[in-house]
């Protein structure tokens, strides 16, 4: 597969210059897409848990090297990127923490940040939490593509212990890949992403169940509206169960707010309050219309 088309530019090379050896832990959609995007600008070292995944990576030339041996993959790396599910990061972090160079920068792509910082922040001197908001309901290496990150927002979550130089370098890294980098505290990140990403996911699943639970198989009559509004319910359940549980406080707050909004709408229907219902819908439309489209359809979740 061809490398990132930006990879040859002087600006790209300058931003990537601190990173010659990049270890990517986990060969899913995000890890695979990172390896593809970095082809030609760094040596990419990809860790996978399963030998057949390693064979596939090597056959498709997705990374410079690949192995099931964590120590071999992280050996000599300038940058290590966790692309594993959030709930297994800690176990892997313990395995590699004594095998990395003092200056190695460590980051991740996890959808929750307080937990990741709490678990990994102290194990690595140069840890910076990242959350590139790119993804797809189609997970896995097969869905990986080199332009996945172009135009996506990437949230970095420094806290008081974050090394400033490491933050600068990780910012330059995502910027070079075409992301719009934003900074939030880990807590702000989890509250905001819980509302704008995790709550919609759970809502899509709940809506599929609610809409199809009456007699007559309503899904036979699903139009584009239903399909779009529930597309993310096709995401991988084990991954999403992990994300939702890792951020359950924010998600539960979101559920309470959503139920409250639904009850408000229900009261307008009960009393046939057309003006109230119009106002409810108009306010939502105004907010929704203000959400800018990304120039590229990158499928960020």
């Amino acid at each position: 597969m061809a490398g990132n088309e930006n990879a040859g530019t002087a600006e790209f090379r300058q931003k990537m210059s601190p990173f010659r050896e990049i270890a990517i832990l986990g060969p899913g959609l995000l890890g695979g897409s990172l390896a593809l995007a970095l082809t030609g600008s760094a040596n990419t070292r990809l860790w996978a848990r399963r030998a057949d995944a390693v064979a596939e990576i090597l056959e498709k030339k997705i990374a410079s090297m690949a192995s099931i041996d964590l120590k071999e993959v992280v050996h000599g790396a300038d940058l290590i990127i966790f692309c594993t599910p959030v709930e297994v990061m800690r176990e892997i972090a313990f395995q590699i923490s004594s095998h990395i160079l003092p200056g190695t920068i460590v980051t991740d792509v996890g959808s929750v940040k307080e937990r990741v910082l709490r678990e990994n922040g102290q194990l690595f001197a140069n840890f910076v939490g990242s959350h590139p908001m790119a993804g797809s309901e189609q997970g896995g290496l097969d869905a990986a593509r080199k332009d996945l990150f172009e135009g996506a927002v990437c949230i970095l979550t420094p806290d008081q212990s974050t090394n400033t130089l490491a933050l600068q370098k990780v910012t330059a890294f995502w910027d070079a890949l075409g992301c719009e980098v934003q900074l939030l505290s880990p807590r702000e990140h989890d509250e905001i992403v819980g509302a704008i990403s995790h709550l919609p996911h759970l809502t899509a699943s709940a809506l599929v169940r609610a809409a199809t639970s009456i007699p007559g198989r309503p899904q036979r009559f699903a139009g584009q509206g239903f399909r779009d509004s529930t597309r993310i319910a096709s995401g991988p359940p084990p991954m999403w169960a992990g994300i939702l549980l890792s951020n359950r406080q924010a998600v539960r707050t979101g559920i309470r707010r959503l139920i409250s909004e639904l009850e408000t709408a229900d009261s307008f229907l009960e009393t046939a309050d057309e003006e109230g219902l119009r106002k409810f819908l108009t306010e939502a439309k105004t907010i929704r219309d203000s959400v800018r489209s990304k120039q590229k359809e990158n499928g960020g979740i």
Copy 2:
């Protein structure tokens, strides 16, 4: 604008042969798209409330004739199609009922059917309720296109008073336009469409409000998942308030079911029941994955 590309075929002409003069009442997305789809196979007569809309229709050659005069538009029509909001159909029906030929077939494109049948079924000897599930959050004549109905499901809602021959002719009509015709009773229709179309619409609006009501303007971080799952919240509020109120019993049932599903998910989060949450998400994914895609992206709501 060019006519429907099927319009020249023998099969199309045969299905459309009962209808030489077709009156379309209301020049919005559906009425405009119908007129475009019928260009070349019938004389299309388009009624609009406003003179500037009539001028636009004539300038763009969307219909064979257009007028603000209802009687003029329905005069001599073989088929009359209500494409107005549900809540104004009754008023228009009264105005035209004494001016139409005995054999004229009357149908509509409304999203609710019990109310429409109750209000209009007795005024017209040959009334057949239709609901082509095609649309877009972009309403209005500007969004009209001749292929809007291709591949869309169109639900017809005969009851005990429906003339069988009229039902056959209206079935052939939608079939010729590329719709997949399905039959439901008016009550079944409203329950099912309430669940699979009206509830998702209200949910999208409620989700926009809930997800953006915390500090930090979460909408700044909206990814493709949020955008897709809330796209329909951009639909026209007056039209949707009318639809939701016209079908409020089914919508309220849907709200109760959705709140119950959200509470179930919340209890899994509260007790950190990963297995329960995975099962919840997996069941939703299985149902969602079973929803077929239309071959064409026709934007049915």
